[in-house]
């Protein structure tokens, strides 16, 4: 009996010894040399693997950053300056300053302003709808309302407004990863600088039709009248194909254009005078002063 136990232990011990030697040799021979900084960089990344940086995930971002040795092509929009400075210190390089951004929906074609002329009955997907036809309103540029952006958002920052039928961005959750921008077949969502205290002036329209047509399709549409362009003292507004666009790097938030716009297409967001409650909701959000 004792013999059996001893033999068993001996054989097992011998097996263990032999196999561990084999394992050791194999590990030594087939070792893959990898820069240890890749793991370090990955460790400080947000780990959402959202692809907002343009790479397949946080690991791919780390590999690319370490391989390049600089951060010229790498920016993590989710982690922002915080994460980037950590990554920079690991790599021993300077980090480029980048203003925090936020997703902005550039369509205000609410159910009321933009009457439906037919009923869409296909798959609930903006991409399917966009590839089928011009849309269920007379505006072929605006939001299709099927919520592809909502399902693309990994941070739950987007939701469809029940009354408006338009996506609403929860700015406290938005990480500016850009997934919604890519998911929108109409290109309505744009990443814009968050602005001081999240204040922004935005043309909430993408309709490039002539004024008459745009107006007919939607009462909130930009009609390309150029009034805003004329009133702007900072050359921030350009008008191309009957559509005004405010360059957020030039805009000084004077709000003159907001008052001037005949259709109310230009919106001033998060200004204290307007819905004062909104600012109180997010007292901690202070963007970079430009």
């Amino acid at each position: 009996m004792t013999n059996i136990i001893i033999w068993t232990i001996a054989i097992l011990a011998a097996l263990g010894l032999v196999l561990s030697v084999v394992l050791f040799l194999v590990a030594k021979k087939f070792k893959v040399e990898e820069d240890p900084r890749i793991d370090e960089v990955e460790a400080v990344m947000p780990g959402a693997n959202c692809g907002g940086c343009g790479f397949a995930g946080c690991r791919a971002f780390a590999e690319s950053a370490v391989k390049a040795g600089n951060l010229d092509n790498n920016y993590c929009p989710v982690g922002g300056a915080d994460v980037m400075s950590k990554v920079a210190s690991i790599l021993g390089v300077e980090v480029k300053a980048s203003a925090p951004k936020v997703a902005v929906v550039r369509c205000n074609g609410t159910c009321e302003a933009r009457p439906r002329v037919n009923e869409y009955g296909g798959a609930a997907s903006c991409k399917v709808k966009a590839s089928l036809y011009a849309g269920d309103t007379l505006c072929q540029w605006g939001c299709l309302g099927c919520g592809d952006c909502v399902s693309a958002c990994k941070f739950g920052a987007l939701s469809m407004g029940p009354a408006t039928g338009l996506p609403v961005v929860d700015e406290s959750k938005c990480t500016a990863c850009g997934a919604c921008v890519k998911s929108c077949p109409k290109g309505i969502i744009e990443l814009r600088n968050k602005g001081p205290r999240s204040m922004r002036v935005v043309v909430e329209c993408v309709n490039k039709d002539k004024g008459v047509l745009a107006r007919k399709a939607c009462s909130n549409a930009c009609i390309g009248c150029t009034k805003c362009q004329k009133v702007c003292a900072h050359d921030a507004i350009t008008i191309e194909s009957n559509l005004a666009y405010i360059d957020f790097t030039k805009c000084k938030l004077c709000k003159k254009c907001v008052a001037e716009c005949p259709t109310g297409a230009i919106h001033a967001i998060n200004f204290p005078v307007l819905p004062a409650k909104k600012v109180e909701d997010k007292p901690k959000e202070t963007g970079n002063e430009q």
């Binding site: 037919n118 009923e119 869409y120 009955g121 089928l132």
Partner: protein, 320 residues
Amino acid sequence: MDKYLVSPNPHIHTSTYTHTLMGDVCIALLPAIVVSVLFYGWSELLILGVSALSCVVIEWAITKFLLKREGRFCGCAALVTGLLLAMNLPPTTPWWVVVIGAIVAIGVAKMSFGGLGQNVFNPALVGRVFLLISFPAIMTDWTVPAGFLSGVDAVSGATLLGRYAEGGVEAVQGVDYLQTLFFNIGGSAGEISALALLAGWVYLLVRKVIKPWITLSIFATVAVVATIFNLCDPAQYTDALFNLLSGGMILGACFMATDYVTSPMSTLGGIIYGIGIGFIVMMIRFFGSYPEGMSFAILLMNMAVPLLNRAFHQRKYGRA
């Protein structure tokens, strides 16, 4: 102007929907249900009712409160599971055991995998096997209750397969095959009448609800395996006809193995799946300790379905 509909093509749809398919399965089970109630009386009706009701209620509750997917509840599918589960139970099963079976079938085997279309195993069979292992005494008590037709008062019987497992070939010598075809007292509701079940199966074929290949390949394999063993040693192994007509063979092959969700998509995959079931069931019957192996055979082959779906595909156009 009115708001006209706009959608991608096609603009028309066949009149077959999930609930009509499941409804057809219920209709196909009717002959067997009627026969079982006629022979086993109130107690069988109670089992059928409790099982069907609890399956539907449990699925509805889980869909609504746990998964929060309102509007996605398909009562017909749960009803099919409930009826199949009931037909797999002995007629004397107490109602609370039936409820436990329903909870396991729907709650564990179906909804925990994500609900309709997601389950790996046939829910009714998981429920039955769970009960078989947990309550072996109840699940092998083949006392025959008083029925409406038979006039037999509560006799204790054993199933044909049970007799074979106990006493070998001699115990089942002289079985009247004609009787097994029409009504075979002793066994679960799904074992009484082969003919009623086959009628339901033919109905499903005619309505194009299922294709015959899986069932036929099970029958063929069982026949071949049984014949080979029977020829080798008739004193030890029963013949093909006995195996085809006894136990849950027909219910399993016609209704359980052909469940859409847990059977392969392609015809060739289905045939191999059927061969697997037929082979395993014969191994269990001849060499296993359980008298019947249909449930285990189907559940085992359920596991192979993802692999079969991967291995066998449709014949594609222009890619000979």
